[in-house]
């Protein structure tokens, strides 16, 4: 069994309204060192697979097809033994 951890983030060019709201909240809590906050998603997927290379290929397909929207989002993932 393998476990994929997929990180999805908004592309750099895309404004992140949640991120800027949280940045402002941190600022009002006196965390003056905060320059920028970006929000993303973390998705974990358990896979009935043994071969890591094959798993990478499948997870990449999942990201392209459903998990991320390539117009506004970037994704990255790592795969480990579950």
């Amino acid at each position: 069994m393998l476990r994929a951890e997929i990180q999805i983030t908004l592309k750099k060019r895309v404004v992140d309204p949640q991120g800027s709201t949280i940045r402002n909240a941190l600022d009002s809590l006196d965390f003056k060192e905060v320059e920028e906050v970006r929000i993303g998603k973390l998705i974990t997927v358990k896979l009935n697979l043994k071969d890591k290379k094959w798993a990478e290929r499948k997870v990449d397909q999942m990201c392209q097809k459903l998990l991320a929207n390539p117009i506004i989002e970037d994704y990255s993932f790592k795969i480990e033994e579950a």
């Binding site: 908004l10 060019r13 895309v14 404004v15 309204p17 949640q18 709201t21 459903l66 998990l67 929207n69 117009i71 506004i72």
Partner: protein, 231 residues
Amino acid sequence: MNFGVVVFPGSNCDQDCLYVIKDILNQPVEYIWHRDMKLESFDCIVLPGGFSYGDYLRTGAIARFSPIIKEIPEFIRQGKAVIGICNGFQILLEAGLLPGAMLRNRNIHFICRYVYIRVENSETPFTNLCRNGQILRMPIAHNEGNYNIDDKGLQELNENRQVVFRYCNSEGEITDESNPNGTLDNIAGIMNKEGNLLGIMPHPERSSESLLGSEDGLFIFKSIVKWLEKR
């Protein structure tokens, strides 16, 4: 002229759409379950608003894989009309049937109120009873209506006159103050290049009776009827 209103799990404007088409426009209309794939008998498909699949992952991200969505390209190719309202618009974007994507509203609030939109292209099946620059008053009700596309995509939309509606003020001016959700270039509705598939965030079905505060939505439904009659 047969209208079909698609019902996804989580649609909640399907009954309003059916009511307007049936009881106000007196046109034949029926519901289509999202798993149905037989669209031959229909001339116009309405993808209604709501929260298909609970808006999980991204709005429209799961509904776009419904069997009925696979039939839309062929339906469009036959020159028939499709209108996606609110969540219907979001589904069309996720399906890649319209370019671009929706982001969360810039103020991260769900916005539910009346807005003004300006008709940017009156030579479409959806606006032929309007004149260019006409101001319509309709409600919006969404959390993700902040339309986004890259520079090249925006240029193409403008060059092909695919932007059908923009948010404006009561005078018809396109201003940042009249942009409710941060949407690029105040875009409220776009269509495909062929001009027979529209995505619109405001709700014409909620503004088709004076009792509800506006009848401006009827311009859109009646335009479709007129277009279908001439087809």
